[in-house]
Amino acid sequence: MPSDVEKWKSEVYGNEIREHLFRFAEEGWDSIPEDETDAWLERFKWWGLYHQRNGQESYFMMRIGTPNGVLEPGQTEVVAELAREYATGPASNPEFGEAYVDWTTRQSIQLHWLKLEDIPEIFAKMEAVGLSSQQACGDSWRNIVGNPMAGKAPEFVDALPVIQELNERFKGNEDHSNLPRKWKVSVTGSANGSGQGDINDMAFEPAYKEIAGEEVRGFNVRVGGGLSRNEPRLARSLDVFARPERVADVAGGISALFREYGDREDRYNARIKFLVDEWGTEKFRRILQEEFVDFELEPAGTDLREQYTYNAGGDKAGDLVGVHEQRDGNYFVGLNVLVGRMGASDTAELAQLADEYGSGEIRISQRQNVIITDVPEERLDDLLDEELLNQYSPDPHPFMRGSVACTGTEFCSLSIVETKNRQVRYARWLKENVELPESVEDFHIHLSGCTASCAQPQIADISLRGMKTRKNGEAVEALDIGLGGGLGENPQFAKWVGQRVPADEVPGAIKNLINTFADNRTDGESFREFIARHEEDELSEFIEPEETSYDDPMMHNTKLTWYPYAEEDSMDASPAPTDADGNPLEESTPADD
């Protein structure tokens, strides 16, 4: 039997949600009929609006999808303005203040504390400069990711025109707007593997083959990757080669196959990775050929996976942070944004720098960083001297550079623990107290609040995942620790070797682990190689949790607060739900009160 979500989707979904959204915005939060709240909040996701967690009712996170992370000239300043004007809530964050922008691991943007009543105005401001939150959440094509410098950095095959074509064809497309589940797509044209195709539902990766005596460059196709819910999968080869001009047709066929054969009865089994598990790639390819494309699929070409360096375990960071030359002789400057969060005023300053030194364009990477593009060589030194780059460095310490964190219990319903502020504190403490072995410049620590894996913990050197434990009898926030994950030619997921480490003992555990690595590595051995040559029980022993000078103010159950950093943080102290101006509304009385 189809789920309630499927029933709601069959009634109203896709583009038509917008008119209802605007109606509710005009009439106010409390105009949503009480017995339709779940349905409308589920539908609003399709337009990029995600209701914040328990205790924050009537406030929304909005995700803006920026294909391949490209923010065109003029767009970044609007994002900053939206953050400053609308993304302020009833309490501030002690690290990031009152208004901030989150750059995400899928090259998108998230703003929090938005009021439903402001949405039409927000949409109007976004659309005036070509920004959109359409399909940024919900069961459809999400933001398409890839190498953020597509079109400007060296590429084997041009990916950006392909990404733009896919975005144009599948955003707002009624035939593909109601899929069984979210649909994550990666298109990469560069030879370094930086599109992270292996962890996407559908991935196009650079490849070539000889056709009629000529080398044709295009893409091999993989399906069924993803990290969520303790069921990580690497995307599997479909033995299909797509020329650039065929990508949209192949992608449309696969998306339609998912639409027709994906599981609509059990949302936990709905992602395409489970269909690939069930069918295998041979059957998947056969059904695609027989039912969903009207041309002969070409067998896979020769891929470039041997050349993949991005997050491949080598010593050099492949994250595009720093100064790099573009194809046209100009330069791009990748800036490290610790855990992807930037204050609204800093974002405005970033936009201004991009205008002053570059073309005004900003790009967002899958490591939650930003890139200023199109900087002439003679302007580089002046840009590098700008004050903003002291905080968002093009040459950050490896622990700052390698930190990625999801949203966590600050706003998210699923998360088990606080994440962003904690990872900021971890990174600072590690920088001050732990020395990485010589030549290790790239060291990734990803903190995800739960198994949804939005911080992509399984592909980090050190993976941290939200848990709980008891310490001196008290329940405290804790983390599971995984080691040795990464991408590259031979991607592998982290081995989970440390369980329920109290959050305040994690920095000590990392310090001890890194010291063990430094003392025992062979010449030039990378951390990933070091982890790979040890058994799990040995690795468990390398993790020696201990209290240190690190102090963690968020050890209590932050999920039971209405906002973890509020002075009065109990659920009863929550002002939510509130009206358009943030004044508390009298909440409808729960049935048992």
Partner: protein, 107 residues
């Protein structure tokens, strides 16, 4: 009077009549001898997969972990509240021991 029970947001919470009632990350003491070797399971609710109502009792099939011994799995449908005269009432889950109703899966 019917009561709408749903698990939403990827198993993050239980909705009762369109109100959020139970969220993941709660800690429950569970009497499920087959789940792990602890006398009482010190159970962290990590994800909800199904909600049922029988004899007025609302129970959630919950994936999670005993934070004392580390065993993970589904200890069965755990009762979280009751519907009394058409109204939902939360159990005091922090202070009671929950016993699974129905099938108890082995981890």
């Amino acid at each position: 009077m019917s009561v709408a029970l749903r698990i939403l947001d990827d198993g993050a919470w239980l909705s009762v009549n369109d109100q959020r009632r139970v969220s993941v990350s709660e800690l429950w003491r569970v009497n499920a001898p087959g789940f792990c070797e602890c006398e009482l399971v010190d159970f962290l609710a990590e994800g909800f997969t199904e909600v049922t109502a029988a004899d007025n009792e609302v129970a959630i099939e919950t994936y999670g972990q005993c934070i004392r011994c580390g065993v993970s799995g589904v200890p069965g449908h755990l009762p979280v509240g009751a519907i009394i005269q058409g109204r939902y009432r939360d159990y005091d889950r922090e202070n009671v021991v929950l016993s699974p109703v129905g099938r108890a899966d082995q981890p």
